[in-house]
Symmetry: D2
Subunit: 388 residues, 4 copies
């Protein structure tokens, strides 16, 4: 009997802002009291989490005095140490304050861009102090409602300038950061400039230090517009660019819901977990979600426990999928090729091209080959439903 209890080896992390979410939304006020970082650490540790992540302003208010800030950081580090958690990822809040209302790195106002850089540098220092090795960039305000007002080509250039600058800063300071870029199609801006993880993969290829920059895909951000998140992550992994991942859930075609992992997209998230576990991805499994606004302060921990538990259930099902003889037999049948064409495949050579040009393919015969995907998908569903 599996217990699905998380351990530190599972590398589950939460953001301070996730368990600390107070339930404010565009049409309603906060419903839960503030949660101190110390209490977050305590409770997450008790539930079996591995780490906790933060924005600069989660640890100390944006207007904190240096003394206050130092104290808050000290207390947080002590709590991490006392409760055996780490803080593997850090990030900068470049979206909440009104100063960023038209963007941070892409703002039209050069002073805002400079301030954003400064804030990111300081937050990187803070991250290092707390032990973070992954630095996430989510450009929550890097977008527009009025395309007349901000040239989209310029916006890309400005974003690159900022990233190049901060890569150099990280290296110059001797920091060991890997940067992970997090895409989102819209919200809070009408349109954000890098709407999908794919956009960032394209962008990274244009950076000065592309080797230190990867992506941080978030389930809900791709699912808002109906993308297949398993496919998104597969491309990132295949490119060696999955540096971090934000796990949550989301109904397609809705505002950013940040639901408990596995609350909606059972089949897709099963394939996601299977991929993460089998791909050799060794980074944190970070839950960037929050509980329903209907919960009280205790309900937060039901939410957090549920995220981890469902992940482990999917992990166990992935094992069973691999051991299911009927499923594996269908997969073999589907993948079986014709040995006669084996020589056609392989890297280009003039000889191979010549040979390939000469093969007389029997199109109709190839089209007749059985592809029992209905049966395979049905077995997958039954495995997921626990009836095999």
């Amino acid at each position: 009997m599996k217990t699905y209890m998380p351990t530190k080896d599972d590398k589950f992390t939460f953001g301070l802002w996730t368990v600390g979410n107070r339930g404010r939304d565009p049409f309603g006020d906060a419903v839960r009291p503030a949660l101190s970082p110390i209490d977050a650490v305590k409770r997450l540790s008790a539930l079996g989490a591995y780490g906790v992540n933060f924005h600069d302003d989660d640890l100390a208010p944006i207007d904190a005095t240096p003394t206050e800030r130092a104290r808050l950081i000290r207390e947080f580090k002590t709590a991490l140490s006392d409760y055996g958690l780490c803080a593997p990822m850090a990030t900068t809040n470049l979206f909440y304050d009104p100063v960023f209302r038209d963007g941070a790195f892409t703002a039209n106002d050069a002073s805002v861009r400079a301030y954003a850089l400064q804030k990111a540098m300081k937050a990187m220092d803070l991250g290092v102090e707390v032990g973070a090795q992954i630095y996430v960039f989510w450009g929550g305000r890097e977008g527009a409602e009025v395309d007349a007002g901000k040239d989209a080509v310029t916006a890309v250039k400005r974003f690159r300038d900022a990233l190049n600058f901060l890569c150099e800063y990280s290296r110059d300071q001797g920091y060991d950061y890997r940067f992970a870029l997090e895409a989102k199609p819209n919200e809070p801006r009408g349109d954000l400039y890098f709407p999908t993880t794919g956009s960032y993969l394209g962008f990274i290829a244009t950076l000065d230090h592309k080797e230190m920059v990867g992506v941080n895909p978030e389930v809900g951000h791709e699912q808002m517009i109906g993308l297949n998140f398993y496919h998104v992550v597969a491309q990132a992994i295949e490119a060696g660019k999955l540096f971090h991942i934000d796990l949550n859930d989301q109904k397609f075609l809705r505002f950013d819901q940040d639901l408990r992992f596995g609350a909606e997209s059972i089949k897709t998230l099963f394939f996601l977990v299977k991929l993460l576990e089998e791909s050799g991805y060794s980074g944190p499994r970070h839950f960037d979600a929050h509980c329903y606004r209907t919960e009280d302060a205790e309900g937060v921990w039901d939410f957090a426990a549920g995220c981890m538990r469902t992940y482990l259930i999917f992990k166990e099902k992935a094992r069973r999928f691999n051991e299911d003889p009927e499923i594996q037999s269908l997969l073999s049948e589907i993948s079986a090729g014709d040995p006669a064409v084996a020589d056609c495949s392989g890297p280009y050579s003039r000889a191979r091209a010549q040979m390939l040009r000469g093969v007389a393919f029997d199109r109709a015969a190839l089209a007749r080959k059985r592809l029992p995907y209905e049966r395979l998908d049905q077995l997958t569903i039954e495995l997921l439903l626990g009836v095999r």
Copy 2:
């Protein structure tokens, strides 16, 4: 008084499959007779188009004999020459025949992958024969409904193998092709592996000959899932990767509509035209659209004329936008920066970082700067509506 009549200098092209679309859809039969490539050339030339593009199977049926094929190609070339059109882009149909029902380059069956490569090579030869210099790849069946059945990481690798092979083939043959990859999120497959132009920008960075591969964004393919097409193209242009473009229109959140250019997305397509015209993009303006199923054979030409005419109207409005003093004054105001921070911006140096860290920004003051986007957008709308 502007006439908005297209000329060859406008570089407007249409696909044979666009004006030749017979109106078949998932719930209904063809409503228009077949249109011969020759007639398409004749009519498009009369309307002021610059060129016509084709899939291999548009020119000659997939089962044509070599003699038949040669005759059809000869006639087509003669027509091009007679009517003064060129054929700047070619592509392979890797989606219609049942053999491709589970993909072409990513099919699980190695024989299908080999046949797809062969078909692409032959189609590239055909393209060269007709004078095409851009080769578009749209992987209409490169996707899945059943993620259990096809490993998404493997799919990316297979697609790369095919592209690397064909790049080498092009070079080895001395062809001068530039490849343009065309993304689409879904339809006809449940999910396609490279759902957005961004995904392809990321993928291109992993190719052996990345310099010869760019993208072919299509308005409708990005708009199906609500992306801002102007932003999509801006990123591609900024990366030097806009090798071709498919112009049409589409309501968000719908099946692939392929509507007449400008029929729906007035504001976005205005900014698109402005961007294309001002960016130095010198490639074809290709319309990949078709007329409503309610049209008869003559209505096709109303459709084609409308695409070009609306493009030219937007182009003229872009000129006016640039000359409108109130709009330009608002833009100046929005972009005006504080000279005091000028030194903060620029490439990284330790000195600049040091200096930037020391600046005392007045967050509240920066947040108070006026950003009159409502006024600017209203003026844009009024310019578009022809009331300024």
Copy 3:
């Protein structure tokens, strides 16, 4: 050990067009041979189905001679009787033929409207002959791409005229039909006039014989635009208007996929089955879906078997949900009210209004009441995953 084998008591039905779907789509040709109605009956009966439904043109080609038509109908009736199936629902194909390219009952051309009425009358006669008692109307072409061309108010009036006419026809002929209206937001038209089941519920209220008209909600049609199908059906049931139901599945924000029941939306379809089974709905459970285009002729039956099997799995899980003590205890807690306000609820009376106005509610106390939805949803997910 449950076997999840369907029996006739489960009232599972399929359309001839569903198992007979040949896999044609907008980008590809048919991949499967035609399936005769007789073979469909035979195979469905063997799988445990209860009935089979049809469009007029599914039974006999639109151009069949009277003799041919009579023979086809006779053979179909014999097959039904031989294999113990019924044909509880019939419908008219008012979308495939080019004559309907701009609509049937809402067409601008009065002759087309008249022809559509005639075709529906004849199809109703045919339905009665085969024993159907439910008559479904799906207006596949009742929409527009060009709102300039068809007045939307007039379209509603025309649709009402047709429905009123056909209600009278049914009564006048002594037919026992109940009409079920099936909504869809778009596809194949850019927009359809009654986009949601809700629209039809509103429309029915304006009919002459509203008592004989209800709705036929289809999972995929509401899910295309992201609606909660369980909510949609709940409203229809509550209004006494669920006359028929089309079961399938669909990812949100995509073309009409018609996937195998339960292939995607596990949680929603579980609540749907629970609702259908507990609401007293006694009509057919009709699967309006088709297998993937990748299947061959035999794969069709994997698909059909899977639809029924997953329904039965959900039905069994609904039973367990009702018997799960922890789930039921959470539900009791959530629903528990304060007896003190019991008198406030009930139909309006001046006294009750007066009393209610005078109650001093403790808003803060009410807001503190625990609502453990995270826990409840997690238990639901675990029940669905078979780990409770």
Copy 4:
């Protein structure tokens, strides 16, 4: 030369919450200072508005003392009178306070339902005091994320109980209210129970006093899920149920944007204005929108002026559309019918049915009739772009 300046005859209204919106969003804080109702009245009057609408809590804080409340209402009424505005519509805020976090009329907690009723009754009294005749219900929290926790059939019944109660209350008090129900598919809840205007049209038919209840469609609420808003309003008007309307704009497939009227959906909103102006709708043209978060306090008025101005531009274009000879000639052609079938149409009679059954329609000929929608739509676009 048209000036497009609004006058009171245009019946433009704004909500206090619209011009008073402070720019808070899920990822950011307020950016604008609070605007007093008095200042809102003053500025709107100066811009040419006709009226101003409010939620109960917009006029007086939810915790105001009776004295404070009375003073605020008195001052507001004085301002209305001083500046010549009316307050034609009122509504209750049943979504902001934590007490409503799981719904108001549909809450699981009977005390919350009772409190919601009480709050609505008091707000109706307040509305009457200020002169409102239309009462809008938007059930912002009437939904769920966890379908396990709230029975959707029960939710509909509870909502009906509340509406029936409040209808009686209105009548019993001698109030002259017409109720207008406002649908929304989701946000802030994962799913709202009445997701579309259609759902409410269906629901209204089940009320005790259906004659006093209609709908208040909002552009953005239907466009979030891609519905054609012109069609939505046409159905409501045709049913005699358009009691109020919320004008704004929205890109499809996004969170609730509440954009300036006409900022995005030029063609659809043109047809909407045309419909409103030609249908005899005599109610307010209410703008339920707010300015971009990037605006400062003055930008609010650019936003408000733009809403009205664009409405008037569309109104003028509707006039031109009706006077454009080429457009009108196309419309005549499209609508022309065959006099021979005139007798087929009309209410049901046995004779007419008999006759209709006997007509020999020439399907192919009907399918050949020209339907020049491409041309018509192109002319519409050109009229909208001001180049005809």
